[in-house]
């Protein structure tokens, strides 16, 4: 019986701890739907594919299209642009031009500065971000900070000669 009384205290401590852990886990689990409700909704996710007709973009011209609510730059590069882009390897985030395009005459990049998310402006060769002064070349590679990375290339593929689908590789 002595042991039983002693065991009583241990058992009670154990049960208190166990109940606390289970209760805590229950509260944490109950938080999941609240946190998850803040993630993108199904209709937002459904905006995930954008079709672009390339036939209307003149040589040297750039079109801005919306994909996932974000601007995507589609640049029709001239042979000089291509040569310049292929000659360099980027500065801050080196990457060969060939890895950033499917066809060299079409550059498709997400038009969001990798620094703070502003939309860079097309100025001369490349883009300049007026928020904090980052500059990108005609391959969307960062040539002047503070942006840490090149403009991202979205997943896309050529549906036909003159049409791309952004959102699916």
């Amino acid at each position: 019986m002595e042991d039983g009384v002693k065991g009583e205290g241990n058992r009670r401590n154990f049960l208190i701890k166990l109940t606390s852990v289970v209760g805590g886990a229950g509260v944490a689990a109950a938080c999941v739907p609240f946190v998850a409700s803040m993630n993108p909704t199904s209709d937002v996710l459904a905006k995930a594919e954008t079709e672009v007709d390339l036939s209307g973009i003149p040589l040297g011209g750039v079109h801005t299209v919306a994909w996932e609510g974000k601007p995507v730059f589609v640049l029709h590069r001239t042979p000089e642009d291509i040569a310049a882009a292929q000659a360099s390897n980027g500065v801050i985030d080196p990457e060969p031009d060939a890895k950033r395009v499917i066809k060299p005459e079409w550059l498709v990049v997400i038009g969001i500065c990798t620094h703070m998310g502003c939309v860079p402006t097309k100025e001369g060769p490349g883009w300049t971000c007026h928020c904090h002064g980052s500059q990108y070349d005609d391959s969307g590679r960062v040539v002047r900070g503070p942006a840490p990375k090149n403009l991202a290339v979205p997943p896309y593929h050529f549906e036909t000669e003159n049409k791309i689908i952004i959102g699916k590789a």
């Binding site: 993108p40 909704t41 502003c118 971000c129 503070p146």
Partner: protein, 421 residues
């Protein structure tokens, strides 16, 4: 207080004793200057913001297709809508202004020192909540500055290790700032003021435990304290009158002086304005963010710059009472720090494309952090110098006594709790 109703209540709820103890008879140092008005003013501005905000919410629509137009609706069609909106927009600036003065007073007079550390830290928490509320409220008009301000600031969370991208998407509820971001910011913008009210109550409980500091820096004896009412109710109301004159000049004569013109253009996710600037009260911190060339470092530096104030009770090692009033070196440090804040504010306002502005910003950022880091050494050296130069009669004695009193109080407290037998 008397009367049958009051006495009926007093038998069931400590109304009279509470009012007497915490309001009318609350002992207040007789030498408080007008710099001690700003806590009260912050409370009044909070009430104004909550009141105007509730009535604005009756007409505002938190929907990305309707938000911008509903602001125009408030401005043109709602009765006195223009007044409510201008009071609310000006009130945000007024809030930061009075809080900055309130903090500057605390720093100048050393009011953050023992035993008022918790009072200071609850205030620091209130500052963070105020900043969050102001930031979320700024998105609601859905103008270009609103949109791009929210884009840049939510993007800061990208530096979270490993899950940065996901955190940003989670915060926005979308891949870019969008309708879901707007609705959640509205919901939280409505919630936060009530959390702030709760935190203000905690701030006041802490204040009433340690009592107000005063310009002499010496805790006054009972005979030197006077009841809060009518002396300080009158003084606070006089200060409120002056404040309301300035506030009204802004609300009625220059309401747009604090609103960026670009925010009168509806939000456009495809075009960033050439020059995006935060509201004036965020400029110094924004300048620090931009001055660090590395993105992660910039975000950390900015977060740290807001939190540096919390370390002051540890950094200031001088025992000389009274803050800058009796400490010439600390006073110089204080004014240099204010000057540095102004320089940072200017840098934050200027576009970052000018290289000399960038250099000025980097130097000012270094000065900002340096002015905190040198405090422990300078305050100790200054104390030694002041003692050597000779302090007024009784001050050394007082410093010793205060130290003893604090220890005694701690001992007594521990004894009462039974931890010390």
């Amino acid at each position: 207080m008397s009367g049958p109703i009051i006495s009926w209540i007093d038998k069931r709820f400590p109304l009279t004793s509470f009012v007497k103890h915490e309001l009318t008879d609350y002992p207040t140092p007789r030498n408080l200057s007008y710099w001690w008005n700003f806590g009260f003013l912050a409370g009044i501005v909070l009430v104004v913001q909550v009141a105007t905000g509730i009535f604005l919410a009756m007409h505002y629509k938190a929907d990305s297709t309707l938000a911008f137009d509903s602001i125009q609706h408030i401005m043109r069609e709602v009765n006195y809508g223009w007044l409510l909106r201008y009071m609310h927009a000006t009130g945000a600036s007024a809030f930061f202004f009075v809080i900055f003065v309130h903090m500057a007073r605390t720093l100048y007079y050393g009011s953050f020192r023992a035993p008022r550390e918790l009072l200071w830290w609850t205030g620091q928490g209130l500052l963070l909540m105020l900043m969050a509320t102001a930031f979320m409220g700024y998105l609601l008009p859905w103008g270009q500055m609103s949109f791009w301000g929210a884009t840049v600031i939510t993007n800061l969370f990208k530096v979270t290790p490993f899950i940065g991208e996901n955190v940003v998407i989670w915060l926005r509820g979308d891949y870019s700032v969008g309708d879901d971001t707007l609705t959640r910011f509205f919901s939280l913008h409505y919630l936060f003021p009530f959390l702030i009210i709760g935190a203000v109550i905690i701030h006041l409980v802490a204040l009433h435990t340690v009592k107000s500091s005063n310009p002499s820096g010496i805790d006054l004896k009972d005979k030197d304290n006077i009841p809060f009412h009518p002396y300080f109710t009158a003084k606070d109301l006089y200060g409120l009158g002056i404040f309301l004159i300035v506030y009204s000049v802004f609300v009625f004569f220059m309401p747009n002086s604090l609103i960026e013109p670009a925010n009168n253009i509806p939000a456009n996710p495809m075009v960033t304005p050439n020059h995006i600037v935060p509201e004036w009260y965020f400029l110094p911190f924004y300048a620090i963010l931009r001055s660090v060339p590395n993105m992660f470092g910039g975000v950390v530096a900015m977060a740290l710059s807001v939190m540096m104030f919390a370390f002051m009770p540890f950094l200031d090692r001088s025992r000389i009472p009274g803050g800058a009033r009796y400490r010439p070196i600390y006073r110089i440090q204080f004014y240099l720090f204010l000057l540095d804040m102004l320089v940072l504010g200017y840098v934050g306002y200027k576009p970052p494309t000018n290289p000399s502005i960038v250099v000025v910003g980097q130097v000012a950022t270094l000065c900002y952090f340096a002015s905190f880091f040198i405090v422990p050494f300078v305050s100790k050296m200054e104390e030694r110098w002041l003692i050597k130069r000779g302090l007024p009669a009784g001050i050394m004695e007082l410093m010793e006594r205060e130290k003893r009193d604090l220890e005694n109080r701690t001992q007594e407290h521990l004894r009462r709790k039974g931890d010390l037998v």
